[in-house]
């Protein structure tokens, strides 16, 4: 019961971060600022969702699997953000909106 409540609260909090990250992606003025929103907010959002799901895990293997997912997404996200930023720095923005 308490575990279920914690799961709901944590996942809801995580979704707020995903929504905020998406809002930043739409509202921020340039590629770099958008990358901030995407990487950081989604990292925390996914972290909270994963933490919430851990309370539903069947055993230590499930918990470690969730943790592994978070770490891999984290590494991929921050690397991708850096690569997009570097590409933008050397080649300019793909579209000059705003």
């Amino acid at each position: 019961m308490i575990a279920n409540a914690l799961t709901v609260i944590l996942i809801f909090a995580g979704l707020v971060f995903f929504a905020a990250g998406t809002a930043g992606l739409l509202r921020f003025p340039d590629v770099y600022s958008r990358l901030h929103a995407l990487t950081k907010a989604d990292n925390v959002g996914l972290g909270l969702v994963i933490l919430g799901l851990m309370f539903q895990a069947g055993g230590p293997a499930d918990i470690l699997k969730l943790l592994l997912i978070w770490v891999l997404v984290l590494a991929a996200g921050t690397t991708a953000a850096h690569m997009v930023a570097q590409r933008t720095w050397t080649h300019g923005e793909f579209e000059s909106d705003r």
Partner: protein, 187 residues
Amino acid sequence: MARASVPSNAGRRFAGRGRSRARRALATAAAATLLWWILAGSAALLEPLALLAIVLAAVASLLLPAGRPLPLRPVALPGLLGFFLRSSFLGGLDVARRALDPHLPIRPDFLTYRTELAHGPPLTLFMAVVSLLPGTLSVRLEGRLLTLHVLDRDADTRAALIALEQRIRKAFHDPRDRQASDDGAAP
């Protein structure tokens, strides 16, 4: 940040090659076992395919040439992990607040920072973590000069970067510090 350059004449030491290879194979087998257990559950560990994969992984680490060793210092890892979790959470909170604020309070700018970290894992980790700290995004690395994008040009970004750099330096054995740490046992 600006640390006086340490004379880099510290001699490199190689441990016994055969022993370190056997240890590496054992560690690989253990990691493969752990990974298989995480992905497939404990019952699947006894299947022949699992045993085959684990043995092959260990054999591969014996046959393939060794990569560069990862000079981690386990003592400093919990501190680094705690620092990372705290500041990456604050980073997400900060950017979420800015993104949802009707006034969109961001003043983006570029900033350069010269790091003293060694090339390789420490510098890679530094650049990766920088992108998750509040308001910073690593853009480009030229030599040791890092170009960053910051969301708020008035924030004290430099202090945060220095704190992170110190944490990471503590978590790795710097080849330039090796001589000092070896001699440091008897002051």
